[in-house]
Subunit: 411 residues, 2 copies
């Protein structure tokens, strides 16, 4: 295995970026939040292989922070996108693909009777709140403390530049803790529009936590009891855990769901799905965007949903994710290193015992990135259905070195 | 000239859409807000010609409500987009095009020292507010009554589903009326983060109003005096009026600008540009989106900005727009029909005297759409640089019939 070393072009671009982009970069793709050795600027991707601007090759376990689910540049998705691009993308009205995609989602997603499309995951979560408020005539929304639901003013994790008023109607509870939900309901004087929740707890920088089925069912019961909408934020998990809404396997259906990321294998689209009783209210709010009706991302989404089904992608991701988890577990054991692996296997999160300053995981990732595995120290990773057994074994050959370095540095 | 008649495929799609999309469609591209004869679903576009799903051809004077500025499917933009698409779009980091595009904007736009990219025009206006609030530690934002600044909860024109608190810090003034601005400042107790304004008044359903240079300068002076940011919402006008910020010809530079629509000739991107003193504050807020770093739209934007310059596009749009305005004026005069044409010639708005119920303009547009001119009864139109003299003459041959029908029906 070769060690990635050259970062000349990346350095030059970073030096140029610092002059024209605040802080040199912003948001979740800001590489200055990552340990040493990570590139900022990417060149290309194919399947689960990606290349940075200096030509260094990586096996991609971030999948563009979620959007890539079939692998980069999937031929069927690209074909559908190119076919539509040659006709038109942003036009005076949507293309037929808008209807096809809405019908597909209505078929696939159990609670879905209608669909609204947008561009950002944040658009979707915000639209869900608007619809729930229009329906209930209430303002309060319950959200889990620490959960990420986007970067609009009511939800961005850093409050700078937002007003107190914009968060005034957000009431917090603790994920997987129904008592805290009851407390939040009590505090809200029965003026609750919705409970907004992620399929599992995937807060950045923390071990992940799968949902307790009793918690999921408890939220459903409470929403029914108080006349609030249950909103599932499936932006990050959607179509990685289940071919449908992520809580369907638990028998819990939300009233509204927010989706984005993986729906079109990287093409920009966001989706709101909802139950019949909210259709009228969904048509009463006014939301729109210059590119929300664009055809290419919708054609790509249709192709993505078909390919996910035809290629049995979720099973593939589970298999690859399981292989990775078992392999990492074995390696850690061999070195006598205590690790935690949390969340679904296809959305892995790795942490080390006694590592609250992230020194171990940072070293682990630094060693991995320089040998060609693109992991993340504080964000869950993403497996795609393009990851084969061989790819995962390549990753494990790399992580063997990472564990060795942890062993050497932290005894 | 043939009359567009067949709408079979459009009807079938509409009947399918009503089942899976609330109200059958939403937002600004909802054709149920348009008079008879408009298609909902589009097939393709090339230059200034567009085709609906039934194969009816139109000369496009809406340009996808703004994004198309060089004409549909412009070869240089498409080449740049395809080249990047073959490499990758949404990756683990941005491509080199992000830096190139930021540098280009910094070169072209006088007040621009740094750039943030997003997806929706609404993202851009919201980010401007956040930065202004972060810088000033004030919450109040002054906006012109009736102005459209996007569909986030603080600005959507229909308040259903939003909370009172989300608008609590928005204070209104009247466009072109400095007294009303002073009143709004007084009302806000000097706690003003920003004044947000469009380059000219382009409220939907009303005659447009160019900015009085004294008003623009007055806003600049007041912002300086009270330590607020002047934010120009150039989402709709950007790069159609001026190759740079829209108030540069007046000598008035904003502190922040929101852009989107035409920047990438239809590819989805939004932009915030700002002055040096706000750079630090721009890096303090947290905003991001899954597709904000995607490479294709940035490559397309670079190509669009180059082509706009090389092809002298703004002059071309002005020339075509002037030809259209003069032609419509002459036709109206010939029939003795009183019309108003307002706003810049490349963003025309047509209205009829004594037409508060829009009956005349609706008939005008219905007659135009069936003969192949895609106009809009309540929204400003958009000229692109692909509109030739011959195209405008074709439009005028069509509008001749429209005026004739107005003459016959409203004497």
């Amino acid at each position: 295995m070769s060690i990635n070393k050259n970062n000349k072009k990346d350095s030059i671009l970073k030096n140029r970026a610092i002059k024209v982009i605040p802080g040199g970069m912003y948001g979740h793709q800001n590489s200055s939040n990552l340990p040493d050795g990570y590139p900022q600027f990417m060149e290309s991707g194919k399947g689960c292989k990606i290349w940075d601007v200096d030509g260094n090759e990586y096996i991609d376990l971030m999948c563009s922070y979620g959007p890539i689910i079939l692998g980069h540049c999937h031929h069927k998705v690209e074909e559908a996108a190119v076919r539509q691009q040659n006709l038109g993308d942003c036009q005076n009205g949507p293309s037929k693909h808008m209807v096809e995609l809405a019908e597909k989602l209505e078929n696939i997603v159990k609670h879905c009777n209608w669909v609204i499309f947008a561009k950002n995951g944040t658009d979707s979560t915000t639209i869900c709140l608007m619809i729930a408020r229009a329906a209930s005539k209430n303002d309060k929304v319950l959200v889990a403390k620490g959960a990420y639901h986007g970067s609009n003013t009511w939800c961005t994790p850093i409050k700078t530049g937002t007003t107190l008023e914009e968060r005034k109607n957000i009431v917090e509870f603790i994920f997987n803790d129904l008592d805290s939900v009851d407390e939040a309901i009590h505090k809200s004087n029965n003026q609750i529009a919705a409970i907004l929740v992620s399929p599992f707890r995937h807060d950045s920088g923390f071990d992940q936590e799968l949902v307790d089925p009793i918690f999921a069912k408890g939220l459903r019961e409470r929403c029914d009891a108080i006349g609030a909408a249950l909103i599932l934020d499936d932006v990050r998990c959607g179509f990685r855990l289940n071919y449908g809404s992520s809580w369907e396997p638990l028998g819990v259906l939300p009233d509204l769901s927010a989706w984005s990321k993986a729906i079109a294998n990287g093409y920009p689209i966001a989706v709101v799905t909802g139950k019949e009783y909210l259709r009228k209210h969904a048509s009463e709010i006014y939301v729109t965007g210059s590119f929300w009706f664009s055809a290419v991302a919708m054609a790509a989404a249709c192709a993505t949903l078909e390919a996910l089904y035809q290629e049995n992608s979720i099973s593939k991701m589970e298999k690859a994710g399981r292989l990775l988890r078992d392999g990492l577990s074995q390696q850690a054991e061999n070195y006598g290193i205590k690790i935690k692996q949390t969340g679904p296997v296809q959305m892995p999160y790795l942490s080390f015992e006694n590592d609250s300053d992230y020194h171990k995981i940072n070293l682990f990732c630094t060693e991995a990135i320089k040998r060609g595995a693109f992991l993340h120290p504080k964000h869950n990773w993403f497996v795609s259905s393009s990851h084969t057994e061989s790819d995962i074994n390549d990753v494990l050959r790399i992580t063997e070195y990472s564990f060795q370095r942890i062993y050497e540095n932290f005894r």
